[in-house]
């Protein structure tokens, strides 16, 4: 799934192990590919402007600007300051959940039970909320900064009367997603299972992270031209880097 990235553009590659958490900075002009190696993966994600971490991913502004309740190719992720943190430039699975939220210690304990490092070593059960919080604390962020997140590779639909429904099988083995960063962005990930995933077993999946250089979006860029709102979001973003 990385054959199309020429060796000259490849920056680094690493694995987000099953159930693990990770954070890092993706610079403007960098694309991060997330590959769901086994299928059925989930990546809970939050994002912050690396230069001013009070600016962060905003679920509501992302959804209402683009008139959508989920994310796919052509969508962008807005910050709460009217700017574009990153764009979804490639997406082989078609739906990424923006509303289902994070698992937490209570929900994981109720569903899967509790395990400890002492017995399980690094396989002990983790949850989305505590995993993301652990990453954020490395940067001086904390509970105030945990806002509504994205769950990449998961699909949750809304019925006619508002019912939330998790859709298994959204992400086959090898599914991938390319996030092109438009700002210097701190990202925090957890590969714990989605909180609405009905699978009874604790079985998070590994994800491959591949970072590579990418050109600036053109005036005809599909994310920029998806809707007039995104055109204005890119104007707001580019003003920061003039």
């Amino acid at each position: 799934m990385t054959a199309d990235i020429s060796p000259g553009r490849l920056l680094w590659e690493e694995h987000l192990h099953d159930g693990a958490h990770w954070s890092g900075v993706l610079r403007r002009g960098t694309t991060l590919r997330l590959t769901d190696l086994e299928g059925g993966g989930n990546v809970a994600a939050l994002m912050y402007n690396h230069e001013d971490r009070t600016e962060r991913y905003c679920m509501a502004d992302t959804l209402k600007a683009q008139h959508t309740a989920y994310l796919t190719r052509g969508c962008v992720c807005y910050s709460d300051m009217g700017r574009v943190l990153c764009s979804l430039v490639e997406d082989s699975c078609g739906w990424h959940d923006a509303i289902g939220g994070l698992s937490n210690a209570a929900s994981v304990a109720a569903k899967y039970g509790v395990t400890r490092f002492q017995e399980q070593r690094n396989g002990f059960y983790k949850n989305g909320y505590d995993s993301i919080l652990t990453e954020l604390r490395k940067y001086g962020l904390g509970r105030r900064d945990i806002v509504a997140n994205i769950s990449f590779f998961s699909k949750v639909t809304v019925g006619n009367d508002g019912q939330l429904l998790f859709r298994p099988g959204n992400s086959p083995a090898g599914a991938h997603l390319d996030l092109r960063f438009e700002m210097h962005t701190l990202v925090a990930f957890s590969s714990c299972q989605h909180p609405l995933d009905p699978e009874p077993a604790y079985r998070p999946r590994p994800i491959r992270l591949t970072a590579f250089e990418s050109p600036r979006p053109s005036t005809e860029d599909p994310c920029r031209t998806r809707c007039p709102e995104n055109g204005r979001g890119f104007v707001n973003t580019e003003r920061v880097f003039l």
């Binding site: 509501a60 008139h67 709460d80 009217g82 739906w95 289902g100 939330l164 204005r232």
Partner: protein, 217 residues
């Protein structure tokens, strides 16, 4: 589209501890003690009331839209909805609702999001985030924008289709409709009586609301 049937309250405003009119476009904040009840009345109809809640003893525990939706497996708020915190605790429970549906996906308007949604020239317009920031810092000067997660929009109608489309639709509220909620812990209540003039959430005409508070027994 099915909207929940009206659930009326038995409480009498004449016995309320506090009644207050919040003008169109204004902020409000206050602490509701555990067991206390807050009623928000849409006096003239189709007003959006942007609202946030915090654990008053520890404000980094804040309202969580995603936890609230997920815990009831439904995106719309109405009577019976428990409003959850980022820690998974119950902040309040909606105990009466004569409107039938409230939004928690649409968020609050801000100068910056107005530039994206409408036009770069809309930046100057008064917004909910300006109200939230004014009310938050009036309550505690150490709080700020970091403390503004996704909020509730009482009386606002933001339907989502099974295909995942989201839109701001005409309101389903009307003059005199109300929503009432009981605090499960001491909560800080933050309100922006939405000043948005660019979309139908307020029928293009922001109007006053009434807040009625009963103390817990």
């Amino acid at each position: 589209m099915t909207v929940a049937p009206a659930q009326h309250s038995r409480l009498e405003p004449a016995r309320a501890a506090r009644r207050e009119i919040v003008p169109a476009g204004a902020p409000w904040h206050g602490v509701l003690r555990a067991g206390g009840i807050l009623r928000i009345v849409d006096l003239e109809g189709n007003q959006a009331v942007d609202t946030l809640f915090y654990n008053a003893r520890q404000t980094d525990e804040h309202y969580s839209a995603q936890d609230t939706m997920r815990s009831q497996a439904n995106i719309y708020l109405t009577a019976g909805t428990r409003l959850l915190s980022s820690e998974g605790n119950v902040l309040l429970e909606i105990t009466a609702d004569t409107c039938g549906r409230h939004d928690t996906l649409g968020g609050a308007c801000s100068a910056e999001s107005n530039t994206v949604r409408y036009a770069l020239q809309k930046r100057h317009m008064h917004s909910c985030r300006d109200n939230f920031l004014a009310a938050l810092t009036a309550y505690d000067g150490r709080l700020g924008k970091r403390d503004l997660p996704a909020n509730i929009n009482f009386f606002m109608n933001v339907p989502v289709t099974p295909q995942g489309e989201l839109r701001f639709a005409d309101g389903i509220s009307a003059a005199g409709r109300y929503v009432e909620m009981r605090a499960a812990m001491d909560v800080l209540v933050l309100i922006s009586n939405c000043p948005q003039l660019n979309n139908p959430c307020n029928a293009y005409n922001p109007t006053p609301i009434e807040l009625v508070v009963w103390e817990g027994s």
